[in-house]
């Protein structure tokens, strides 16, 4: 149990430490830790968790960490996983803030971050592809994917709205 809690903590700490750019930047990291490295969830289940985390208030990665932590190790697991996500922010701002401020002001840091963000674009698109393999499985789900992608490119509406549309289309098109 202690082993599992420690693994949970450090896996989600890695997610917190390398989420650069906010929002969905955590998806490729969480996918790697939760699906590929530790095999805690399958890709379809992972997408369900992300959807639930998106539909509930608060930061998506803390929501997802709480849910996955609970699933693996109950209340202790959920606390440990969400603590893992917030640990890097706490350490950087409370203990290493002087170093952090100096680093951010260095001319090289902007170049470094630009490189990291360029890599992040590749990783997010790759995550969309690899997770898509488990979600876009027939004509109906492909249709839903295309409709939501085009709509989100055209209209700037809250993601929750698009998830709701996806749910309605799912209810209508599901091969019961």
């Amino acid at each position: 149990m202690i082993d599992l809690l420690l693994t949970l903590y450090f896996s989600f700490l890695k997610v917190g430490l390398f989420t650069i750019g906010g929002g969905y930047a955590m998806i490729p990291l969480m996918e790697a830790e939760v699906i590929n490295v530790n095999r805690w969830l399958g890709p379809a289940e992972f997408l369900d968790v992300i959807a639930i985390a998106e539909m509930t208030p608060g930061p998506v990665s803390i929501n997802a960490a709480t849910f996955i932590g609970y699933k693996l190790a109950g209340v202790a697991g959920s606390l440990v996983a969400s603590l893992g996500v917030i640990t890097p922010s706490l350490i950087l701002l409370l203990l290493l803030s002087r170093i952090l401020f100096k680093l951010i002001q260095k001319p090289g840091s902007e170049k470094f971050l630009k490189g990291v963000r360029s890599a992040m674009v590749a990783l997010i698109l790759l995550a969309a592809y690899s997770l898509g393999l488990s979600a876009v499985i027939d004509l109906a789900s492909a249709f839903i994917f295309v409709v939501i992608l085009i709509a989100s490119l055209v209209y700037r509406i809250s993601p929750i709205f698009y998830i709701a549309i996806g749910a309605i289309m799912g209810l209508l098109l599901f091969p019961y």
Binding site: F67, R117, F145, G170
Partner: protein, 191 residues
């Protein structure tokens, strides 16, 4: 940074800081950049804890460091108000609603409806929708970030490397950062 922990608003109690950020955590959906305007309204306009300028400084640090945007800005505001204790109170406040709500869903609601056929049908549609939102996030980030030839080539090269080698994303990100640094050094030499 001297004076960072000293502020006119020293009268703010740890409890007020915690409750304020609890409210931010409990009533903002979607995470990421969606939360920042809510934080701004609460701490700059309503409570006047920090000035607009100070809030802009906080955002620069928030975006230049890893972690959740809402969390990073909350901790910094907490630190400005009440030092380390304030920072921890802000972090606990912004995180607590997530933990409470998701615990209720994971422990009670999800097992209750998980096997329901209509729930399955809804998630049959929600999954491709979430994939579309992730793809959209990648496309949008690409439009914002990849504004010169070097970063486009770097992004494509790392995409190919990531597909072939199945490298952990952390290594891909660090490689991207290091190449970004090297490219800028080389360009500076030619300037």
């Amino acid at each position: 940074m001297p004076g960072l922990n000293e502020s006119k608003s020293n009268k703010e109690t740890i409890w007020t800081i915690l409750l304020t950020f609890f409210k931010v955590g409990a009533f903002t959906f979607g995470g990421g950049y969606a939360i920042l305007p809510v934080v701004q309204q609460e701490v700059v306009e309503k409570r006047k804890w920090v000035s607009q300028t100070a809030f802009s400084d906080i955002l620069i640090i928030t975006q230049g460091m890893p972690g959740q945007l809402a969390l990073n800005s909350a901790i910094q505001i907490g630190i400005r108000l009440r030092g380390t204790a304030g920072g921890i109170a802000a972090a606990v406040g912004v995180t607590a609603p997530s933990v409470i709500i998701l615990l209720i869903i994971a422990a009670w609601l999800y097992p209750l409806i998980h096997d329901n056929i209509y729930f399955q049908a809804a998630f049959f549609g929600i999954r491709p929708a979430v994939v579309a939102l992730i793809a959209y996030a990648g496309i949008k980030m690409g439009r914002d970030i990849l504004d010169d030839r070097n970063s486009i080539i770097l992004s494509i090269a790392l995409l190919v490397v990531a597909i072939i080698t199945q490298l952990h994303p952390i290594l891909v990100l660090v490689s991207g950062g290091l190449v970004g640094l090297l490219l800028s050094r080389r360009n500076n030499n030619y300037d």
